[in-house]
């Protein structure tokens, strides 16, 4: 029971911290946008495109 509680807590903390860090990256890095990423990935698996 304790293990499952720990796992739940870990997952929640992981998701919250991830969201906050991700938001920070998006604020600081102005070229981290969907369009820019698509352009930089044009040559990566070119036969599968979004």
């Amino acid at each position: 029971m304790q293990e499952s509680k720990d796992a739940t807590r870990f997952l929640i903390v992981l998701l919250v911290v991830t969201f906050m860090t991700g938001a920070l990256v998006l604020v600081v890095k102005s070229d981290y946008r969907i369009r820019d990423n698509e352009l930089s990935n044009l040559e990566y698996y070119p036969h599968i495109s979004p």
Partner: protein, 976 residues
């Protein structure tokens, strides 16, 4: 459970026997399977026959010895023979209707029209797709030019010609696969996908077999995957046409592919290149697109297993789903089947590699046993589930047994299951107080030393000394810990999970990474123990966030992609950190070559490892066995039987030893191997345990193909070589010197011999100086220099490569402090196991003519003589004063008439010529391109007219010449 484990071991052992013995008699193995099974049934029936007839199966189950010992022995033999039968029958492809059988009826130039089905999603490799096709029918195509008379316009002009394709009757294919390589410049590149019917027209190619010592046998590798021919789909060479998309069948696989493509689209939208290629690799098993530099850094730091989508990923995903379901309070009995389904879907997504299948099976067994059998007291052992997974994989695909990915995956789990706990115990005893301080100091001192001086790893005794230091450190630390009463600062004080993790790392390193990296790859990452401490937890984070982001982005409408963007923006930091960590350790800690052990050495290593780790258990068992034998010996009735058993054991041991030792190849007095290095040359000489290299092949930087790394290094690894006594460069041509740099980075070279000027101060020369020292016979450049103009820049890629290679040699000689000796006619080299005498060039000039001043060497061992000719046959035609037993030529010899005169007068036992026509970009703008091309075309028929064998590395692969008791034997790696 123990019964199942024993039977599994017998099944795998039987397969191993088939591999080692090279047996092909599948019928015999099947017959033995039936015989042994009958033998197993008899004692079982004898004991339980009455109960079975009475239908009392409960009595059988409750019997203390359900399966009698004799039945068990025969059952194990049955499984062993069945294992051998499975392996041998899988190798059979000589039956009518097999793809290979049909192909082999006709020569390689036959054009085929093949209709077949794409059986798995095409894989991207560099700039082409690897498409696996199950051929259904195939026809031969013959194109003919025929005169056309009917057309009215052509009638006016007296008729015309057109090409007509005639096809033979279709043959139905019943086995074997074809691999099509579809290049990016084809339209079909974006069309071809799983479950399509396709039609291919073109010539088929058979993959290259093992061409050099220590090299990979690509043909066998493909055959182990069931592939027997390849075809390159390129304009004007071969064509692939999509006939139809089949929408039926393989629902699960199509579902997995749909998820894969959708998640890949999300990755491409939410993470920039090349971090996206890393996430695609670790999450979806997409190896294409990752920059080669990153792959190399991963290999150097020992973390490339993260890209192999190993069992670790499956376990991480199982953990993630377990956590998510637990979070929402869903009972295990309900979500266990969902996780099992997800794990196998994941294995399908990543291409169903044996490592992922193994992990999916093992995790599923654990989950299902926890969900449904826990109440009945059932506890699953790791070894049992490993046996189930291995049996399944080998039953479905027996040829996986020899695949490194399968062996590495199984042995990693075996190492964890068997050696983690004893490793933990060892660490707990060793790392306490002063013991911990001493071990930490020794560990730090080792890494500081190799970081400060990278060349330490090139020392011939680096690995033996390191091993000795590790043993000494363990011993001293344990002693210090035992004697100390100081209890603080101990390994035991670490959290339990960290203790387990560190112990698991030790177990993996000693029982998997160290022996199997050496055995399969001949290299060992010294950074691996440190890098993995960071990499493994980090990869858990990256995979979990990546998977959540991928699934949300792909399947949550409208806002899903934006949530994925935020998640992957954070993940991008983790990926950046991972790539930076790999790059940092790759630059800091060297990645040395290690001698590749042979199979029996590997077996001995594992035996010793088990003896060391389980010494107490072995001692207990040994004493118990001794006591039992002693008791039985006291009984006069059993004495004769025991004596007979002992005699039988001795006979078995002697017979086994005889078979073993007779199988070991007797070392010749002298072995010379002209390696197949493509365009260029390299001759490896082995005598009295010393190795010498004459020429070191080409490193084509434009193509990214370094023959020094790909051919010479593996050849040396397999020879148990600790150092190279001497390297002799016959000329400064790039196809002879540029491959040396990578060899110098992994092997210590005692002395370098060259016939051309070579500064040792490490200062690069400019092109002006270079062009004035080396003459290539480029009339334009020579005229320019004579008229007093400067040399300008290298006029072609070949010149540039030559210039760069020479400067690299200057830098390497200085960096590794290699003594250099200038050679000229009359010089002798005698301390390398053979005597080498320089016959040409006669004197040392300021200018070195690359094509005419190359070395001519006389190699002597006992009464046998050999000649190494740089290419220029003039000096040899004038007479060498002895009869060579074998002649090695580093290039197509010129002029042919002089060469013919020389070899006809010498009449050797054979000639080996190292040559393959160079790549187009190497010859672009090169003034010798026309000469090399015309020689290549005209020499073949003329060489065939000579009345002794002439071996070309382009056709025969490496040519090995052995001298044993004054007789010369030749072996070629590729037979006609």
């Amino acid at each position: 459970m123990l019964t199942f484990i024993l039977l599994s071991l017998a099944f795998i052992g039987g397969m191993g026997f088939a591999v080692l013995s090279g047996a092909t008699a599948s019928g015999l193995f099947l017959l033995l399977t039936a015989v042994f099974f009958t033998c197993a049934v008899i004692p079982f029936w004898f004991k339980h026959g009455n109960s079975m007839l009475a239908g009392d199966f409960k009595a059988i189950r409750e019997d203390e010895e359900t399966i009698p010992v004799l039945s068990m022995i025969f059952l194990m033999l049955t499984l062993a023979m069945f294992g051998s039968f499975s392996y041998v029958s899988e190798l059979r492809y000589d039956y009518r209707g097999h793809f290979l059988t049909i192909c082999e009826k006709y020569d390689e130039s036959t054009t085929w029209r093949i209709s077949g089905r794409v059986i798995e999603e095409p894989k991207l490799r560099g700039d082409y797709l690897e498409v696996l096709i199950q051929p259904e029918t195939m026809r031969r195509v013959e194109r003919k030019r025929v005169r056309v008379q009917n057309d009215s316009e052509k009638k006016k002009s007296g008729g015309g010609y057109e090409t007509v394709a005639e096809t033979s009757e279709a043959e139905t294919v019943t086995g074997g696969l074809l691999m099509a390589l579809v290049y990016e410049d084809n339209e079909v590149f974006r069309e071809v996908s799983f479950n399509q019917t396709v039609e291919i027209e073109g010539q088929l190619t058979e993959a290259s077999e093992k061409r050099n010592p220590g090299a990979m046998d690509y043909r066998q590798y493909l055959r182990n995957r069931g592939i027997f021919r390849t075809v390159r789909i390129m304009p004007r060479r071969a064509a692939l046409k999509v006939v139809e998309q089949r929408e039926s069948g393989a629902v699960w696989y199509r579902f997995a592919l749909h998820i894969k493509n959708e998640v890949l689209k999300v990755i491409k939208q939410t993470m920039p290149y090349h971090e996206s290629s890393f996430l695609g690799g670790v999450l979806l098993g997409l190896k294409g697109g990752l920059p080669p530099k990153v792959s190399q850094e991963f290999r150097m730091t020992g973390v490339s297993h993260v890209l192999a989508v190993s069992g670790l990923h499956v376990t991480i995903i199982a953990g993630l789903f377990y956590g998510l379901f637990t979070m929402f309070k869903i009972p295990l009995r309900i979500f266990a089947p969902i996780i099992v389904f997800s794990l196998f879907t994941f294995a399908l997504i990543v291409g169903w590699p044996s490592s992922a299948v193994r992990a999916a099976l093992m995790n599923s067994l654990f989950l299902l046993s926890m969900a449904y059998l826990k109440d009945s007291g059932f506890k699953l052992s790791v070894i049992f589930s490993l046996c189930v997974a291995s049996d399944y994989i080998l039953f479905m695909s027996p040829l996986q047994l020899t695949e490194p990915s399968f062996v590495l995956s199984v042995m990693a789990i075996y190492a964890l299951a068997m050696f983690s706990e004893p490793s933990g115990e060892m660490l707990r005893r060793m790392l306490r107080g002063p013991g911990l301080a001493f071990a930490a100091l020794a560990f730090a001192a080792f890494f500081v030393a190799i970081i400060i001086d990278n060349t330490l790893v090139l020392h011939p005794y680096f690995f033996p000394l390191t091993f000795f230091c590790i043993v000494a450190t363990c011993y001293i630390s344990t002693r210090l810990s035992d004697r100390s009463t100081f209890q603080s600062f101990a390994f035991e004080m670490l959290p339990g999970w960290l203790q387990g993790f560190l112990a698991a790392q030790i177990a993996i390193f000693v029982a998997m990474m160290l022996p199997l990296s050496a055995f399969y790859f001949g290299q060992l990452s010294l950074a691996a123990p440190i890098a993995n401490l960071i990499a493994i937890p980090l990869i858990g984070l990256i995979v979990q966030i990546g998977l959540i982001a991928g699934l949300i982005g792909a399947f949550v409408p409208v806002i899903g992609i934006y949530i994925a963007l935020v998640l992957n923006a954070a993940n991008w930091l983790a990926v950046k950190f991972f790539l930076g960590m790999a790059s940092f350790f790759a630059a800091l800690i060297p990645y040395p070559r290690i001698s590749q052990p042979v199979f029996y050495e590997l077996v001995i290593y594992y035996l010793l490892l088990h003896c060391f780790y389980f010494r107490r258990e072995i001692k207990t068992w040994g004493l118990a066995l001794y006591a039992a034998v002693y008791d039985v010996w006291d009984e006069p009735d059993y004495r004769n039987s025991l004596s007979l058993l002992a005699i039988f054991a001795v006979i078995l041991a002697v017979a086994g030893s005889v078979v073993f030792f007779s199988g070991i190849e007797r070392q010749p007095d002298l072995r010379m191997t002209m390696l197949d290095v493509g365009f260029g040359s390299s001759l490896m000489i082995e005598a009295e345990g010393k190795v010498t290299l004459i020429d070191a092949a080409l490193n084509d930087t434009l193509a990214g193909v370094d023959r020094g790394e790909r051919v010479i290094q593996p050849a040396l690894s397999g020879k148990q070589v600790r150092e190279i006594k001497a390297v002799i460069l016959s000329s400064a041509l790039p196809e002879r010197i540029s491959g040396l740099s990578s060899v110098l980075s992994t092997y210590r070279v005692n002395r370098l011999y060259v016939p051309f000027p070579l500064p040792t101060n490490g200062v690069r020369v400019n092109f002006e100086e270079y062009a004035r020292t080396f003459a290539f016979g480029d009339i334009k450049l020579e005229r320019r220099l004579k008229s007093g103009q400067n040399a300008g820049i290298p006029p072609s890629y070949f010149w540039e490569l030559a210039y760069e290679s020479y400067n690299r040699l200057i830098e390497d000689v200085h960096r590794y402090k290699i003594p250099v000796q200038l050679l000229k006619a009359g010089d002798k080299i005698t301390d390398i196991g053979v005597n080498i005498e320089v016959l040409y060039p006669e004197r040392n000039k300021d200018t070195f003519q690359q094509y005419y001043d190359g070395l001519v060497l006389k190699i002597t061992r006992d009464t046998q003589n050999y000649v190494y000719l740089s290419g220029n046959a003039h000096p040899a035609a004038e007479g060498v004063g002895f009869r060579p037993d074998f002649i090695f030529v580093a290039d197509l010899p010129y002029p042919y008439e002089a060469f013919e005169k020389f070899v006809k007068s010498a009449n050797p036992e054979g000639v080996a010529i190292s040559f393959r026509f160079p790549a187009a970009w190497l010859m672009d703008g090169y003034h010798m391109a026309g000469t090399i091309s015309s020689r290549n075309k005209s020499y073949g028929p003329r060489l065939k007219q000579l009345n002794f064998p002439v071996y070309m590395t382009s056709e025969n692969g490496a040519v090995q010449v052995d001298q044993l008791r004054n007789t010369v034997n030749t072996k070629v790696f590729v037979k006609d």
